[in-house]
């Protein structure tokens, strides 16, 4: 599957690196990444295939995640939305409902890309101008002119706001007492998960398991909910990458299931549907 998608063309961006090493930091957000992928289709943005673009994006994100887990949330939100759009584009259109049609959504995305490209072209033209202090210069030793009657005191709104924000923040920070934060470390999360993997040969719902685990270890569940979820998710993703366990989530926000990795290779999140026709 992956081989079908021409990542060799990555060479355009960073020729000196192996094709699969993707530096997401080089992009200004998911729309920028999409625009770059779109340009590689080498067709006019008016005739871009949004379906192909969505597929390329999803593969890109998947590969980036396979290498490093810390993808910014913006990219994942876009990936989720594109996965949704892709499924809508592939399935037959339902009878006209309240939601906009898949074609409309695709057209709106194409328009956003064209708009971003247009404003970038404009930005390039702007910076190509002769700039003051760079290409042209003003009088180096200006003299005060009587004609311009100016107030005795001078202050800009910027200075006023900067002064206010600075001293307010400084003063408040002086009063902060940092509360003790209860943290469930990644190491602890890994331990818990390893035990789970030992027990569970079949799909187990992770939230329920964690709640039981916390209770059995006498940990306060309420205060630790966020840290437990965060650490468990990181640890799960890491272990999935190592091939220790499989993950499954049927749709966005649905419960996440884990099980010990079997011989058969499993799909990563977001890749569930890519083998669909």
């Amino acid at each position: 599957m992956t081989a079908e998608l021409p990542f060799e063309e990555d060479a355009g961006r960073r020729a000196d690196e192996p094709a699969l090493v993707v530096d997401v930091d080089g992009y200004e957000g998911p729309l920028d990444l999409l625009l770059d992928l779109a340009r590689r289709q080498k067709v006019d943005l008016h005739r871009i295939s949004i379906l192909a673009l969505a597929e390329q994006y999803l593969v890109f994100v998947e590969q980036a995640r396979a290498l490093r887990l810390e993808l910014a949330a913006d990219y994942l939100v876009m990936a989720a939305w594109l996965a949704y759009l892709k499924s809508r584009l592939l399935l037959p259109e339902p009878p006209k409902g309240e939601e906009p049609s898949a074609a409309d959504l695709a057209a709106a995305l194409a328009l956003r890309l064209r708009r971003l490209e247009a404003i970038r072209a404009a930005a390039n033209k702007l910076t190509g101008r002769e700039r003051l202090g760079q290409d042209v210069f003003a009088r180096g030793a200006p003299e005060e002119i009587a004609a311009a009657a100016r107030p005795v005191w001078e202050a800009e709104l910027y200075d006023l706001l900067a002064a206010y924000a600075h001293q307010r923040q400084k003063r408040v920070q002086g009063h902060i007492s940092v509360g003790h934060r209860v943290v469930w470390s990644l190491v602890e999360a890994r331990e818990a998960l390893q035990r789970l993997v030992g027990e569970a040969g079949d799909w187990t719902e992770i939230d329920g398991y964690l709640t039981r685990y916390m209770a059995s270890h006498g940990l306060p569940p309420r205060e630790m909910k966020a840290t437990v979820k965060a650490s468990a998710l990181s640890a799960m993703l890491e272990m999935a990458r190592e091939g220790v366990l499989d993950l499954r989530q049927d749709e966005a926000f649905a419960p996440i299931y884990v099980r010990r990795r079997s011989a058969r290779p499993a799909a990563l999140p977001f890749a569930d549907k890519r083998d669909a026709p």
Partner: protein, 234 residues
């Protein structure tokens, strides 16, 4: 009065007119040379002898200086002497290096320039990404961007626009002189605010608040919320 006498008077008038014009040239030249920022024709007019059209003075000075090392240019709604662009390389060597703007800052600046008045949420809608902390701060500090007012919509978000300093820096006389405006128009991204959120309005740095910028106003105008895209509203 004899014909000869009338002629002599006319000649005198001519001469005194020419003298007044020459004096106006020197005055305007001195004022523009002394100032680091552009001066408007109206401001210059006040210092010029009565009856002299300051536009003619400016036209003559522009002509006189056209081939010189220093040129008179229309900038930011006024006039200013600036060194000739072809000598920039000599002067840049002496000057301190200009602050390099990040790609993100440039993009935000352009969106504000072409799209003003514009809110932070609108900037992020176009770029499809949150604006990093400090990006707007840099533009505000450089004096190119200012807080204009508030959009008359729920939450009354602050609107941003460009300053005369922005025009001065990029050598623009008016905001309509922004390069590439026609292309944006041609691409259909500038058509006023016809199609809700997918067009770039004609940029406008008129300091007067727009109809939809009047503060408190009516709090019940519809939310300008992008649909379809994965962007969260504010």
């Amino acid at each position: 009065m004899t014909g000869a006498a009338a002629e002599a008077i006319e000649e005198d008038d001519d001469r005194s007119g020419a003298e007044a014009f020459a004096r106006a040239l020197r005055i305007v030249e001195a004022l523009l040379f002394a100032s680091a920022v552009p001066l408007s024709a109206e401001a210059l007019e006040r210092s010029v002898p009565a009856g002299i059209a300051v536009e003619q003075v400016l036209a003559r000075l522009t002509e006189v200086y056209a081939s010189r090392g220093v040129n008179l240019r229309p900038v930011a709604g006024g006039f200013a002497f600036r060194t000739a662009p072809d000598l920039g390389y000599l002067l840049a060597a002496e000057a301190e290096p200009p602050r390099k703007l990040s790609r993100a800052a440039l993009e935000v600046l352009s969106i504000i320039a072409y799209h003003q008045p514009v809110t932070r949420a609108e900037i992020e809608e176009i770029r499809g990404v949150a604006t990093a902390r400090g990006t707007l701060d840099i533009l505000l500090e450089a004096g190119w961007v200012r807080l204009r007012g508030r959009r008359r919509s729920p939450g009354r978000p602050v609107t941003y626009g460009t300053t005369p300093g922005f025009l001065d820096h990029f050598g623009l006389d008016r905001i309509d002189d922004l390069p590439g405006l026609d292309e944006l128009k041609g691409a259909g991204f500038i058509e006023g605010r016809l199609t809700r959120d997918l067009t770039v309005p004609v940029p406008d740095d008129d300091p007067d608040l727009r109809d939809d910028e009047d503060p408190l106003g009516d709090l019940f105008s519809p939310l300008d919320d992008g649909e379809g895209g994965p962007q969260q509203g504010e």
